[in-house]
Amino acid sequence: MSGLLDFTALELGSKIQAHEVTAIEALDAVFAQIDKREQKIHAYVTIDREAAYEQAKKVQAKIEQGLLTSPLAGVPVAIKDNMCTKGLLTTCSSKILENFIPPYTAEAVAKLEQAGAVIVGKTNMDEFAMGSTTETSAFGITRNPWNTDHVPGGSSGGSCAAVAANECFYALGSDTGGSIRQPSSFCGVTGMKPTYGTVSRYGLIAYGSSLDQIGPITKNTADCAAVLEVISGYDKKDSTSVARKSYDFTAALKNDVKGMKIGIPEEYIGEGLNEEVRTAILKAADVLKAQGAEVEYFHLDLVDYVIPAYYVIACAEASSNLARFDGVKYGYRAKDFEGLHQMYKKSRSEGFGAEVKRRIMLGSFVLSSGYYDAYYLKALRTKALIKQAFDQAFAKYDIILGPAAPTTAMKIGESLSDPIQMYLGDINTIAVNLAGLPGMSIPCGMDHNGLPIGVQLIADCFEEKKLIQAVYTYEQSRKEEA
């Protein structure tokens, strides 16, 4: 049955609909692979085999009765552990939530379940999605399936590693500053951060609410479009949800970029970019050019200010969002304390990891009286300018092309010591969150260590279809090449 694992999610889904494979057999294949690789990779925090088989049996019965016809029905999926799943442990890879069992399911996950998805388990991540390597997890690191001495990226490192190691057929991740796109690049999978407001945040444990967005992590572009089609939609339970005109993203799977205008920001391919990454990115641009796209370089304003603005805004929102963890209603409570106030303080100090505390403190500071204007409002004004810079770029181009990260996957243990150095690795992804844009990372080559390189394509808000069409065309051309 191991041949099953080579199928994409849609290929498997159509085999299941054609009664050539059952949802149970698909799950058997996934668990056999997990038994083989998970000990080394550690992509998952929680796996509930019993619940997965129960779900697979229910789904299979409905398929046989003709009640479930979704192209993803019966296909095993992995969910990042910051999305609530009713009755299934949801930890955010944090000690403070080590025993949290949600009484409800996140909207994006509920939509997958309605489409007949079978949840394999919950994937490892940087604690509260704060990190770029999955090393800040309270439950141990995840290793890159391509080379286990290297990180998978983060914060959705577990989801991306699970897809890359065939320990599921696709996964959900979340992206606040690149947390889907950067690990997708490091793990050689396809990841998309949709336009802000496209996928409901209901049930997603908040980090930076104005930036957070759930998205698909898949084996190819067709799967990505199909998953997005299922999880997207207006949701009144999310006050920033946007009612869009259409959600038929798979209609954009067209092999055609003729006349499409693609801009490459000089700032994204200049100093600080690894040479092998640069070569692979520019080669990807050449492929699109050969298919009829117009490719040119341009100057994107304000790139140097993106990271400082992001960290002020994200940490400010985090300090507010994470105030709910107080040791009263759920999660960890300290053992010894005197009085209520100390109970809060000790529970939080013992329950949160170092990076989370660092960000909560920075956030509390920039929001504090006397510093609010100088830091928080300054960052929001900078965000407005960054948005303007992208508006100007998209007045000229359909797509912006660049790397998803300045390097390939770092060695384990190399990047946590200096926070600024670590944050600088997010330079290519963060602006997309600040401006609310959709962005995708897809594989475009390998470095000399056998580690994947990802190219990132970015479109204007609500232009996912353009993005999918460009990425799909690139993918088809590469297939022909090979």
């Binding site: 009484p103 960052a379 004004r381 300018l385």
Partner: protein, 93 residues
């Protein structure tokens, strides 16, 4: 700029209590981050409105009707301590 007194104050705001060792590290990290963030002062933003949302947002209203079921047991199950169907905390008065 970030001295011990400021770190104490941030600890109160953030409801975090750091060990002496953690405090020194946090102070150094915070100073480093703020020096880096100070780059933003190179930008003239005097005529720019702060942008909190990318798209225009309006309040979402609905009738005050309960739509989910009674999840009391499931909610309380997650509480570190509970008594008589309620959350239990340290004595405050």
């Amino acid at each position: 700029m970030i001295d011990n007194e400021m770190m104490e104050y941030i600890g109160i705001l953030a409801k975090l209590e750091l060990s002496e060792e953690e405090k020194d590290q946090a102070k150094a990290d915070m100073q480093k981050m703020l020096n880096y963030i100070d780059q933003l002062n190179e930008l003239d933003t005097s005529n720019v409105e702060p942008m909190s949302h990318i798209f225009p947002v309006t309040n979402v209203f609905r009738e005050d009707v309960v739509t989910n079921g009674d999840e009391r047991e499931a909610m309380l199950m997650n509480a570190p301590k509970q008594k008589n169907g309620q959350y239990q905390v340290a004595k405050t008065i």
